[in-house]
Symmetry: C2
Subunit: 242 residues, 2 copies
DNA sequence: TCAACTATGTCACTTTCTGGCATATTTGAT
DNA sequence: ATCAAATATGCCAGAAAGTGACATAGTTGA
């Protein structure tokens, strides 16, 4: 076992079994007690808040406020986490507003510098409108999984998509659209997009897309502009309370 | 600089500057090129997908699907992230449903085993009701920051709170409540709690709490039971579509 | 007062790391 | 075809870091 792995393991054991004593750690890691203390010093150097109580009944643990190990998210997982945070923020989720923004910052910082430019403004592309009407509410269905998955990828990658859309009159048409923004009018989700077919912004209901294919073409997202054109000022925070 | 730190730095450089060549890395890390290759081998051993192109114009990078470093969240940040994820899930946020649950799992796993029991069920304590009535919508205000902050802590720690509440008739009363569940009836947030004063479950509007103080007493959350008592079946997913 | 803890110092020994050099291999450009 | 720019690996000797054993000091609760 390399030393790095041992340090990892040590941190995990401390986290999982607070109050453990050095002798026990030594046995479990298969090294001398002296080395355990050396490793502990390393962890502390690296910023882990290792606490220790001396004397009988003592032991070691990571400080409670810390507790957490490193979370290793893939880019996509981190992205969707950011989107979720954005949704919560927009919904004025009252929990931990300060922590939300700190967590957001840390996750954004984990991305390569080149991508941060794209990721930061993501939350400005999520809008909250007033709740859907009863009619919409009763007709909103679960979006097609594959279609919405592709649409999501296109949304974050800022790529143009070619998609089949079934409008309110059940007429199917194939369109090329730029997915600029998401609008939630709960429980319905809408896409605010620029429609190449019509040459103008359009609103699409998320559950009405069927066959979504990504094109290589990228676009520059202009969520405000598109939202303004489609909704006037009737969306997002400023519109609330009614 | 310890080797561990150098490995960290190396990973970050690879992430930030894809296409970098070994000679440049050696210069920047202040070690020989031979050591750079050794470090790269270590990273690969540890699971980092380091890719390399040989030959002229070649270079190294981390595989795109990876891209991300470790995110070091504090417990509170992780908690609020989980809550946000839960909210998004409950709202049927159509983006990356699969990734959301994977991310959720990873974040939960980062917590000490002892706490996972508490954290896993958190999302079952967040309920979605139908949107608020026009009357509520027009009267819902920004919750008091300090009060809701304390309420949040009590919610996740499962602690009883003593709070001042101002009811719809503007009458103030002091109560001891157990915050069992959160209910969003957008844009209003409610607390489903057991009210010690009345000895029965009650619904409280989040923006009407004023002075919230934590007590040391913990309770066992029974979100389903409390929600059932207060709302019947008219809440959460089953109630939708209307 | 004792036993159970954390914590640090020293020293000899072992392991790992490191740089330099050689060499193989792949790849794009000329 | 040849060359230059890359990654990649092997080997070696010297340097650095890690390791265990032992000693010792300090703290704490019973």
């Amino acid at each position: 076992m390399h030393r790095i792995d041992r340090l990892d393991l040590l941190a995990r054991i401390l986290r999982d079994r607070p109050g453990i004593v050095a002798a026990e750690l030594a046995r479990e890691l298969g090294v001398s007690q002296r080395s355990v203390f050396r490793d502990l010093a390393h962890l502390r150097e690296r910023g882990y808040p290792v606490e220790a109580d001396r004397g009988r009944g003592g032991g070691m643990r990571l400080h409670a406020s810390w507790g957490l190990g490193k979370v290793l998210l893939s880019s996509e997982e981190a992205l969707c986490t950011l989107l979720s945070l954005a949704v919560s923020e927009k919904l004025r989720f009252p929990m931990f507003a300060a922590e939300v923004s700190r967590a957001r910052k840390k996750i954004v910082d984990a991305f390569p510098r080149a991508e941060r430019r794209q990721i930061g403004p993501l939350r400005e592309r999520i809008l909250v409108g007033r709740p859907a009407s009863a009619v919409v509410r009763s007709s909103f269905a679960e979006p097609n999984a594959v279609a919405s998955r592709n649409m999501q990828v296109a949304f974050v990658r800022e790529q143009v998509v070619r998609a089949d859309y079934i409008n309110e009159k059940a007429v199917r048409s194939t369109r090329r659209v730029e997915p600029h923004a998401l609008l939630i009018m709960w429980p319905a989700w809408y896409l605010l997009a620029f429609d190449h077919l019509r040459g103008e912004p359009r609103t699409f209901r998320f559950d009405r897309f069927e066959r979504v294919e990504l094109e290589e073409v990228v676009f520059r997202p202009r969520p405000r502009e598109i939202a303004q054109a489609l909704l006037g000022d009737s969306c997002d925070a400023p519109a609330y309370p009614v």
